[in-house]
């Protein structure tokens, strides 16, 4: 053994110390504190009395909690799979282009992703404005009655999902593009010799080879969208926030508007558990499915 263990440990300590300090203070500690707070009747600031599982019992009969849970799930359903699909389509389309056309088209599709959510909100709030919005003029032209998207319960979530897809698809799109580029051209050459048409090639070659990327995109999107707050909050101001509430927003309302830290923490813990359970489940599921497809 050439390595001097004690010395290496010390050096390693110096390397990891800054990160570990931050990680402990800003991740481990708040996580533990969240669990503890959820068993108390604490206000937002300050300590509370231990109330056992009272906060969780209350959640079981809290209609707003049920609604927030449902809305979050509904939003995930509307955004994750359609968003992945859109990103895949766009990536396939863009990968056919070359040179500066590809560069420009790529930038056009990706640009929304790098904008702050409040900019995206302002843009779409304007585009979908019921009286003067661009989209409403399009509907007029198609003889479809105008839709007050952010003011009706029916259209709120689908609209926020569409805006979210527009905003975040760029990320998934780049992953798909990288995945497409990683497919060796020889495979396509072979397929061309077999006189395989475009659709068959896609179905038999591209799709199976792209499956790992698809699984990755789905996982990332799912975890991301379960944590939805920004867009839903911004679009619901002045609308019907009680009906369109999502989980993180409910945490925010309970803690900062109603000053009920303990109850808010119980909601936070629920979301925490849900996200972890779903990501573990999806990870296992996709690995199984992926294993079947690629072999």
């Amino acid at each position: 053994m050439i390595r001097n263990l004690a010395k290496e440990n010390l050096i390693a300590l110096v390397f990891v110390a800054p990160f570990v300090a931050l990680f402990g203070l800003l991740f481990i500690y708040p996580t533990i504190a969240m669990f503890i707070t959820s068993f108390t009747d604490a206000p937002l600031i300050g300590a509370g009395k231990w109330v056992g599982i009272a906060n969780y019992v209350r959640l079981a009969s809290d209609a707003k909690f049920g609604l927030a849970l449902w809305n979050t799930g509904y939003f995930v359903l509307l955004s994750v799979i359609p968003g992945t699909f859109v990103a895949l389509l766009v990536a396939v389309g863009v990968s056919r282009l070359s040179g500066w056309t590809q560069a420009i088209v790529l930038a056009l599709f990706f640009l929304p992703y790098i904008l702050p959510v409040s900019v995206v909100y302002r843009l779409w709030d304007w585009v979908l404005n019921f009286q003067f919005g661009l989209a409403m003029h399009v509907l007029d032209a198609l003889w479809i009655p105008r839709v007050p998207v952010f003011k009706t319960i029916t259209w709120f979530m689908p609209a926020v999902a569409v805006v979210t897809i527009w905003w975040t698809a760029g990320f998934s799109f780049l992953l798909f593009l990288a995945g497409l580029r990683a497919i060796p051209p020889e495979i396509y050459e072979a397929a061309a010799l077999d006189n395989s048409n475009g659709w068959t090639t896609f179905r038999k070659i591209t799709w199976p080879l792209l499956w790992p990327v698809t699984a990755l995109v789905l996982t990332i999107q799912l975890i991301l969208q379960l944590k939805i707050f920004d867009q839903v909050y911004l679009f619901s101001v002045g609308g019907r926030p009680n009906d369109t509430m999502v989980m993180v927003q409910y945490i925010y309302v309970k803690a900062l508007v109603n000053n009920q830290g303990g109850q808010a923490a119980a909601i936070a813990v629920s979301l925490f558990v849900i996200v972890i359970a779903i990501s573990v489940f999806q990870f296992l599921l996709l690995r199984l499915a992926g294993g079947d497809d690629s072999k």
Binding site: F130, Q131, P148, T152, I153, L256, N259
Partner: protein
């Protein structure tokens, strides 16, 4: 360890800051972003000029409603609240129950040179809780009916003084909306139909016109009050259903529909008066006017609220006597200079200003000021007030009802159930 370090850093910055400023700075928050934001900014800059070396107001305008009150609440809890803020009188009971507001003591009032006698009883009552005052009233701001004189004239709905006629009674008003539409307007009336918070005022006014009450002896919608709420909702949703009122219209769109001439009338707060005056001055507006809400039901009644100034409780911090004096000076000065504030459409709360000839001649205030006799305020309870719990529940059901998604009776049922849970 961390705490100590941070406290030390903070202390040193604070020391540095206080030695750097010789004059007293007053941190001011308001939510006056609508038509009156500009007038208030003018007043603030006048104040600062008047107190050049002594006091300076540093003003921030935050988003009206829930965002504003959420920020006030949390920043008060962590000792980050401003020195002074605007506050809706309707929300004072809620704020006092949350312990957010400091009392304005009789001594404070004496220092400011203001007293009960300077204000209308209704407003003084609104800022008083358990015999203590928690704010200094600035104004009353009811809602009014704005109208386009060109269109109403063409529709034969104006008398020779240019005041609308034939608008009283549900039938007549609906017919008038039809006539206005026939006279070339796209909509009879621009309603803020996409914003339940906003519509609360109109709906509560229409309840008041039937002597309706939201809370009677601590009970929500007691007796035949549900029916009265339903009547109010029915009238408003009928306008939308008949194509006379613009559906799903948010606040700025409603203003734009009216100012662009697409809608002949608009029910909105007096705070939009400056928008009209300014556009008119630029030659970009038709002849317009504003009057008291027409009597749709039994007798005139208009919902009103008051802007007040309040001092938030700042947890863990007490203001220095100098700072407190500066804040009192701000409040007192603002009230005494509220004649200019009246040009933003509001009715000043401070009596001596209302008594001036200048105010009495001011238009359009003079036209709608008789409505002060018919004003109603929110019930005095911690559950009421702008962005309060009741406000929140009711507004949730207004948008679907006013746009025909929900039946008025059904909405009233749901409101009753939800209020019952409080």
């Amino acid at each position: 360890m961390f705490k100590k370090l941070f406290t030390a850093t903070l202390l040193s910055t604070a020391l540095f800051a206080s030695s750097a400023f010789a004059k007293e700075t007053v941190a001011w928050w308001d939510f006056l972003g609508g038509g009156d934001g500009v007038r208030m900014k003018q007043l603030i800059s006048d104040f600062n000029k008047d107190h050049a070396d002594k006091i300076e107001i540093e003003a921030t305008t935050l988003e009206w409603g829930v965002p504003f009150y959420t920020k006030v609440q949390t920043s008060s809890a962590v000792g980050e609240a401003p020195d002074i803020m605007t506050y809706h009188a309707s929300r004072i009971p809620l704020a006092v129950s949350q312990g957010i507001l400091q009392e304005i003591t009789p001594d404070d009032y004496k220092t400011m040179g203001l007293s009960k006698a300077d204000y209308p009883d209704a407003i003084w009552n609104a800022i008083t809780q358990d015999g203590k005052q928690y704010a200094v009233p600035l104004d009353t701001h009811p809602i009014v009916l704005y109208y386009n004189k060109d269109i109403l004239g063409k529709a034969g709905l104006l008398d020779d003084k240019g005041i609308p006629k034939g608008l009283n009674g549900a039938e007549n008003f609906k017919a008038a909306l039809g006539k206005a539409k026939a006279a070339g307007a796209k909509w009879g009336i621009a309603g803020v139909t996409a914003d339940g918070n906003f519509m609360y005022r109109t709906i509560y006014s229409l309840m008041g016109q039937q002597d309706g009450e939201l809370m009677t002896d601590g009970k929500f919608l007691a007796g035949d009050n549900p029916k009265k709420l339903e009547n109010a909702l029915a009238v408003l949703s009928d306008w939308t259903k008949s194509g006379l009122q613009s559906p799903y219209t948010d606040y700025p769109s409603a203003v734009a529909l009216f100012t662009s001439g697409s809608a002949a009338m608009m029910i909105n707060g007096v705070w939009e008066v400056p928008t009209m005056t300014d556009l008119k001055a630029k030659g970009k507006l038709f002849e317009w006017g504003a009057v008291e809400l027409p009597t749709i039901f039994a007798h005139p009644s208009t919902y009103s609220d008051s802007h007040t100034f309040a001092i938030p409780v700042n947890k863990g911090k007490t203001a220095t006597p100098e700072k407190h004096a500066a804040v009192l000076e701000v409040m007192s000065w603002m009230d005494k200079h509220s004649l200019f504030w009246a040009t933003a459409g509001h009715i000043p709360a401070y009596g001596p200003v209302r008594a001036t000839d200048e105010y009495k001649k001011m238009q359009p205030n003079a036209t709608y000021s008789p409505l002060t006799a018919n004003m109603i305020f929110d019930p005095k309870s911690p559950l009421f007030g702008v962005a309060g719990p009741v406000f929140d529940v009711m507004s949730t059901y207004f948008v679907p009802t006013l746009n025909g998604e929900m039946d008025p009776a059904q909405a009233v049922e749901k409101i009753k159930t939800d209020l019952g849970k409080m």
